[in-house]
């Protein structure tokens, strides 16, 4: 199956600081790809690169290609890229509290997408908005469209943001930490909604998160980032069962689980490196139990392993 969104060897820099180093990803229709990493891993930048929005934060793709439906986005005109955003690619941001224009009514903020991209009339756009809000189980949608963002709860706002992402009837949704700012019970609602969208509408979803639990719950494949590099990628089943990269394994072990023995949680020693001083060789080596001389000197290439791929000199079960 051909990928809807494909990143091949994409590097991203802001100013002259290189933050993302040759990442390759594929997102297919009807599938969910989870992109997981800690702070500074470059996961949000990857999302911005896929949206073509890097210039907003002063960043740029320095290397590689971002292809949507087979076309290189770098080769498109601004207008062509704009016609993709909102229409064929929907975007869900991290913090619903700040994602909506505080001085504009909810209805108008959702309407604009279908009016702009689907050329709907004002009335038709409003009807579509009401329909979407109802589908997302927003109670009293008719009143909500006339409300301002500050009158709604966080979970409600995030559903409005999802409605905006869906209003242009897109094929792909990119969700950047859509539940991080929400309470756990609301997080469950949002994850359920996103899962249902992929199942019912055959959308492709690129889900960016730092939460391995969320990945395990709804993703088909997962890509693990560390300090701007892809360290492991593959179907979730095998990766969670037998993580090949020591970082993936350690990340899973950092999550307290039911039935876990007290004192078994130790964390990963050291700190996430700053982008201004990434370690040479494998960027994880200063914190890695398996690290050897080779890891200090040579960055391991991403090599196929089973149904996925891994970048480690000592890949395999511990």
């Amino acid at each position: 199956m051909s990928a809807l969104l494909e990143l091949s060897g994409v590097s991203v820099a802001i100013g002259n600081v290189a933050l993302v180093d040759r990442i390759s990803l594929r997102v297919e229709a009807g599938r969910i790809l989870g992109l997981v990493g800690e702070s500074g891993s470059g996961k949000s930048l990857t999302a911005m690169a896929a949206m073509g929005l890097l210039p907003l934060i002063g960043g740029r793709v320095t290397e590689g290609e971002v292809r949507f439906a087979g076309r290189d986005m770098a080769g498109m005109s601004d207008a062509e890229r704009r016609a993709l955003r909102g229409r064929r690619i929907g975007f869900v941001t991290q913090n619903p509290m700040t994602a909506l224009d505080p001085v504009q009514r909810i209805g108008a903020q959702v309407d604009i997408v279908s009016r702009l991209h689907l050329r709907l009339t004002k009335a038709a756009a409003r009807a579509r908005t009401l329909d979407l809000l109802t589908q997302l189980r927003i109670p009293d949608a008719a009143a909500v469209v006339d409300a301002y963002p500050h009158q709604l709860s966080g979970g409600m706002k995030q559903r409005i943001v999802i409605a905006m992402a869906l209003a242009g009837d897109p094929e792909l949704i990119i969700a950047d930490e859509p539940t991080t700012a929400l309470d756990v019970t609301v997080q469950a609602q949002i994850i359920q909604i996103l899962g249902a969208l992929v199942r019912d509408r055959g959308l492709a979803l690129l889900l960016i998160t730092h939460d391995m639990g969320v990945i395990a719950q709804i993703c088909d494949r997962v890509a693990v980032l560390y300090s701007g590099r892809l360290v492991e990628e593959g179907p979730v089943g095998p990766i969670f069962a037998n993580p090949a990269h020591p970082y993936t394994a350690a990340l899973i072990d950092c999550i307290p689980q039911e039935g876990m023995a007290k004192r078994s949680l130790r964390g990963i020693p050291g700190a996430v490196p700053s982008a201004l001083a990434f370690p040479p060789g494998c960027r994880f080596h200063p914190r890695c139990r398996r690290a050897t001389e080779t890891c200090r000197d040579d960055a391991p290439p991403l090599l196929p392993l089973g149904a996925g791929s891994v970048a480690c000199h000592h890949a395999g079960p511990p």
Partner: protein
Amino acid sequence: MSEPLIRTEGLTKRFRSGGGLFSRERVMTAVRDVTLEIARGEVLGVVGESGCGKSTLARLILRLIETTEGSVVFDGTELTALPPTALRAMRKRMAMVFQDPYSSLDPRFTLAEVLAEPFRVQGHDLPNDAVPAMLAAVGLPEALATSYPHQLSGGQRQRVGIARALALHPDLVVLDEPTASLDVSIQAQIIALLADLRDKMGLTYLFISHDLGLVRYFCDRIVVMYLGSVVEVLPNTQAAPRHPYTDALMRSGFAPDPARRREIVPLGGEIPSPFALPAGCAFATRCAFASDRCRRERPPLSQGLSHPVACFHPL
């Protein structure tokens, strides 16, 4: 059972806002009638979602804010009645670690100054080797003593916050979401450090968190809060939830294991405003089991069941 280290009785906090010329006065009930005990040496977890009053409760227990009603007894002394000078002296026996490691350290202080502050404000002499020893105890190199907070990573800063809290060997340490702003790999480090320090120093922890999984891993007993009230006290980490809210909270977390995927049954409805608490059970608006009685009457924290639960229809 010996005398608990902390006992609260009907602890209530109401915040008033507005009331000037330009807006109506509004009263927000942040904590409502909380009675609980913390035994010496235990780790008591308080879990709940944002706005449930867990952080306010922590501050009431330490009397960092004044209570509206109720009392806190710390090792036989009623904190709520203590005059300011005696309260300040009492503070060397209780300490707090804060959520945000970025703003909890004065940006103009070096780490040595941060760590000397507890001694200074309590009028104690600072032993010569105290600062290096404190840094070592939380796993930081001695060389950092002359650094400023902005030169440290989040995890390192949180270690400094812990060292500061433990400087005078307190009996009680209140941990207010100490890992919520940290990466998961660092969160696990800090939790491990807290567990080690508790063993070494015989500390009592009050651990505040929104993460039920983490609380179940780390704590001995768990208090579940919803909209200012305690809805359930789990006597151990294995106990099955009896309150529908605790149950929903447990079902909302995701295990990092694709083999244990499950159908999500999300909680519907909205949390009522703390400015206008419902007459009955605060959870009734979102509860599948709610009856008319729940909407009319507030269920007390009943002691009759296997453990305390505030529900008319416990599971």
